[in-house]
Symmetry: C2
């Protein structure tokens, strides 16, 4: 029992969270539930920061000079475009700092601190929806082995899937995530809109949406491609294009994607 | 007990299954497990038909004239393009016949029989993967109230979600299904390919794929749109377009979809 407590203590980090958005909220909650202490939340909007700080029982600030300067880790969970501004004004130089962005290189932190890294949870996070962090892949990168090990130990307290991923790979992961998450969600939106136009309920499509995702858990997607394009069925495709006449932008998308599917499967 | 048996018996239909593909297999298995008797399987390829018939303990045939002519229901589960050919040669006129296609009007059956309809399960079905049919929306349509009620009772034995959907609505559902299933699966394929090019494992994207689908169960998709396009972040979008230089067709897709997302959300 004493050993267990000692081990837990050794993993405990005092963390300042910079940011109050979806990622800051969900990551903060996951870390707070494990062996980390969120000691302060910084946010430009005082209200969001204090709401989040209340969850962790810590202080909050919207003033850069008030940020605690002796924490073990600073997590930059602000939008990509705000990173340079925060770095210019932050008072906590040379402590370990990580950003959480998919597309920004680790190098953006190199002139700011001697200890830096990236802590990127590859998941779509919302303030409103809880997420099981143990299944979220966390991609870590650091400027040296010691910092990498610190991030590795921290990441492993909240997730079973921790990966060492460099900036070029992370950028590629983010691009792939745009296709399988952002673009996919937009297609759900198109599906909903098409149904609304016929007074049909989006609920009708939900079992199909889930099953399509579940199938990709078990099979390589090209192997399970279905639909008129992979069967090269021009009668159906022409019918669909005609039905999309009121939406020329979706007509164009339909044609492009169908051609790409047909092409990919003819190359098999 | 006697009453229960009587009720079960009253729902029991003797069904001939025409087709041996994914839909015929999964629908046949679901019906066979409930209050229906598959009495024959027809398939152009003798092997597939006998494999399927073995599952149901019934006869099979690859010869049209051998099809049983006194069944209660004939389910046409062949490809859209094969429907006319089957109808030309089928020997069982004026029995109740349904097709199972998303895009073909009910009218294709009107000159063939006085009793006809549509029995369309809105789901992506594979021979290899079992599916919980109780959650599969079944869209039914018939040429008169009596036949509609027969199909309704049959559909309700296998699914909790049975909907009366006319041919125009079903066609729209099918078009929406192409976006949320076929096109979405192609985007999973693009994601997998992008990762392979960097020696990254597709497993990394799986939690994100599942969570994206799960979110759409709870929210209207436009309300939960994330990513660079909805934030109108041109730095990231330009970076992604540059990364896609080797794939001009995906570059074009990326630009079109991003514009559509930005446009949709600026109109909100």
């Amino acid at each position: 029992m004493i050993i267990t407590l000692f081990l837990q203590k050794s993993y405990c980090m005092r963390i300042v969270l910079l940011g109050t958005g979806n990622l800051a909220t969900r990551l903060g909650i996951a870390l707070h539930a494990k062996h980390a202490e969120i000691v302060q939340v910084y946010g430009r909007s005082g209200t969001s920061a204090s709401d989040l700080a209340n969850l962790f029982g810590c202080t909050d600030t919207s003033s850069m000079p008030e940020i605690i300067t002796d924490a073990d880790l600073y997590i930059l969970a602000v939008s990509d475009t705000s990173i340079p501004e925060v770095l210019t004004n932050a008072p906590f130089h040379d402590r370990l700092i990580v950003h959480t962005s998919g597309s920004i290189s680790i190098d953006i932190l190199s002139s700011f601190s001697e200890n830096y890294g990236v802590f990127y949870p590859l998941q779509t996070l919302s303030k409103q929806k809880a997420v099981d962090f143990s299944a979220v892949p966390i991609c870590i990168e650091a400027n040296n082995a010691e910092n990498l090990e610190k991030l590795n130990r921290l990441a492993k307290t909240i997730s079973d899937q921790v990966f060492r991923i460099d900036s070029a790979q992370r950028r590629e992961l983010h691009l792939a995530a745009v296709f399988v998450c952002n673009f996919v969600n937009h297609f759900y939106a198109i599906g909903e809109k098409l149904l609304q136009e016929q007074n049909l309920d989006f609920n009708l499509l939900k079992p199909l949406i889930l099953e399509t995702a579940n199938k990709a858990m078990l099979h390589s997607p090209p192997e399970i491609q279905t639909g008129p394009a992979v069967r090269d069925n021009h009668t159906i495709m022409d019918q669909h294009l005609k039905m999309l006449q009121q939406h020329p932008e979706w007509q164009e998308l339909y044609e492009l994607i169908s051609k790409d599917i047909t092409w990919l499967h003819q190359c098999d």
